[in-house]
């Protein structure tokens, strides 16, 4: 899609802003979710095939060739971009399946392919030198040296940063690379050791890098007990919620564990990242795109989050000096948050 079309929409603001507004990149796990994202102001949507070549490989989710073609047509007709995630790691003996996914993405005419594996980046670069490539968050590149390496070797045009850097560190990366930088703006948080996390494999032998799913549903059991709900992952007790306690995703990192006689969230509490408060700073340092997590979520979530972030971005753009986070935005985002609470995550940590 020519970028020129996307510029037409928020014309009023783009002329007045000092720096250009980051693209809003929203998740699409289904055709209705894609349309919801486009209709509510996403500049780009990201999606994946119905298989283990992407890290949201859940039963019934994602796109086949037909729905993908329709989704791409829909987005392009409205001047938005489509990014395809092929962000798992090719498994032994099955490299061809991942290469085929790359071939399919090029055939379908996506605007960019989001890749994590260096072998696959090399394949895409050599086979399709004109194809725009993004480095996935699963590629786990947290330094400008790693990002510049991917630019030099594979022609990567954009990198999605893992959610481990402070805002100052993000700025440091941006100042030392000409690769576009995309950061996460909203969505469920995990331990954020993206592309390097094997906690799910520890519990059930499968993880995002290998099968495209963290804590696959077939290993999850929600067990209703009198006055409580127990969550088990492959038999391991992850958590026990009282009837009035909020629930979270059934992952090891969000479990409550007995540590030396005390039971608590030993790794992290179920929570969501929400960058609204620091949106002007994100724009100021030159972030090129803001990503919303949640391809596994429903069209209702995509609608609510896209609409809110679009409103916030447009507000930040027109009055950068006097940006106020509207309570209604926070309320809308808090409602769909995992654990019904939000954090700025690593962005505002005083330490590194």
């Amino acid at each position: 899609m020519p970028r020129g079309l996307a510029i037409l929409r928020p014309l009023t603001f783009r002329m007045s802003a000092m720096t250009s507004l980051p693209d809003l990149v929203c998740p699409a796990g289904s055709l209705p979710a894609l349309k919801a994202a486009v209709d509510n102001g996403a500049d780009a949507v990201y999606l994946g095939y119905k298989n283990d070549t992407n890290a949201r490989n859940f039963a019934g989710l994602n796109f086949d060739a037909r729905t993908m073609a329709e989704g791409i047509r829909y987005a392009h007709a409205k001047g938005r971009e489509v990014l395809m995630a092929i962000n798992t790691f090719p498994q032994a003996g099955r490299v061809a399946d991942w290469q085929k996914a790359v071939d399919g993405a090029v055939d379908q005419g996506v605007d960019a392919i989001i890749l994590a594996d260096v072998g696959l980046l090399d394949y895409a670069r050599n086979r399709y030198p004109q194809q725009r490539l993004h480095l996935s968050v699963q590629g786990s590149a947290t330094s400008y040296e790693a990002i510049n390496f991917c630019q030099r070797e594979f022609g990567v045009r954009r990198a999605v940063l893992p959610r481990v850097l402070t805002l100052a560190q993000v700025e440091h990366v941006i100042r030392n690379t000409s690769v576009e930088i995309e950061v996460f703006g909203f969505g469920s948080l995990c331990v954020m050791n993206e592309g390097r996390c094997w906690l799910s494999s520890y519990a059930c032998g499968e993880s995002p890098n290998t099968v495209g799913a963290c804590s696959p549903a077939k290993y999850v059991k929600w067990d209703k007990q009198p006055g409580a709900m127990e969550t088990r992952l492959n038999g391991i007790l992850i958590d026990r919620f009282g009837d009035d306690e909020p629930a979270g995703y059934p992952t090891l990192c969000k479990g409550r564990f007995d540590v030396q006689g005390e039971t608590y969230y030993a790794l992290e509490e179920p929570t969501s990242l929400n960058v609204l408060e620091i949106l002007p700073d994100i724009i100021k340092i030159g972030v090129r795109a803001i990503k919303v997590e949640g391809r596994q979520r429903s069209p209702a979530y995509v609608t609510q989050v896209t609409r809110t972030l679009r409103a916030a971005l447009d507000a930040a753009a027109s009055t950068t000096e006097r940006f106020h986070v509207k309570p209604a935005w926070q309320a809308d985002l808090a409602k769909v948050s995992e654990g019904s609470q939000a954090t700025l995550g690593a962005y505002n940590r005083p330490w590194r």
Binding site: G29, L61, V220, D223, R297, S298
Partner: protein
């Protein structure tokens, strides 16, 4: 949701469920199954995922009306089950307002689940298949429904 109608969160008074539980349950199952079969007839549900529902037993409970429905999918049709001989493979429980919010795509099931307003028990993967299958349906606008077409 794009419509102007917003469904509030509400809970019917306990008296309703006290009475509802004593009423016959078969009409709920018939209505639900008729709705699902209408969706089948309009080819709204993808065949690849439908195959995964074959012979599974589903139970839907509306907590604040005291209503419940048990049904299965067999031979290309949803069918009510009136005296289930075994535990359901997948069971949903929620108040009426939560179901209405889900149907209107006003709320996301994960949100309701996090807030403990929707309970899903049984085969978790089957639950995910059903959830994602319904999410992927492109519901026609009301006037396209065959029942309302004249």
């Amino acid at each position: 949701m794009t419509g102007t109608l917003t469904i509030p969160k509400f809970r019917l008074p306990p008296l309703v469920s006290a009475i509802g539980r004593k009423l016959p349950q078969w009409p709920h199952a018939l209505v639900l199954v008729a709705g699902l079969n209408a969706a089948l007839k309009m080819k709204l549900l993808p065949e690849s995922e439908l195959a995964l529902l074959e012979d599974k037993l589903f139970r839907v409970r509306v907590l604040d009306t005291g209503g419940e429905a048990t049904y299965t999918y067999r031979g290309g049709l949803f069918r009510p089950v009136f005296n289930a001989q075994r535990q359901a493979d997948l069971a949903f429980a929620a108040n009426l307002s939560a179901y209405l919010q889900l149907l209107a795509r006003q709320e996301d099931p994960d949100t309701l689940f996090f807030k403990r307003e929707l309970e899903i028990t049984g085969d978790t993967e089957l639950g995910l298949i059903v959830k994602n299958m319904l999410d992927a349906v492109e519901w026609p606008s009301l006037r396209q429904l065959p029942l309302l077409r004249r």
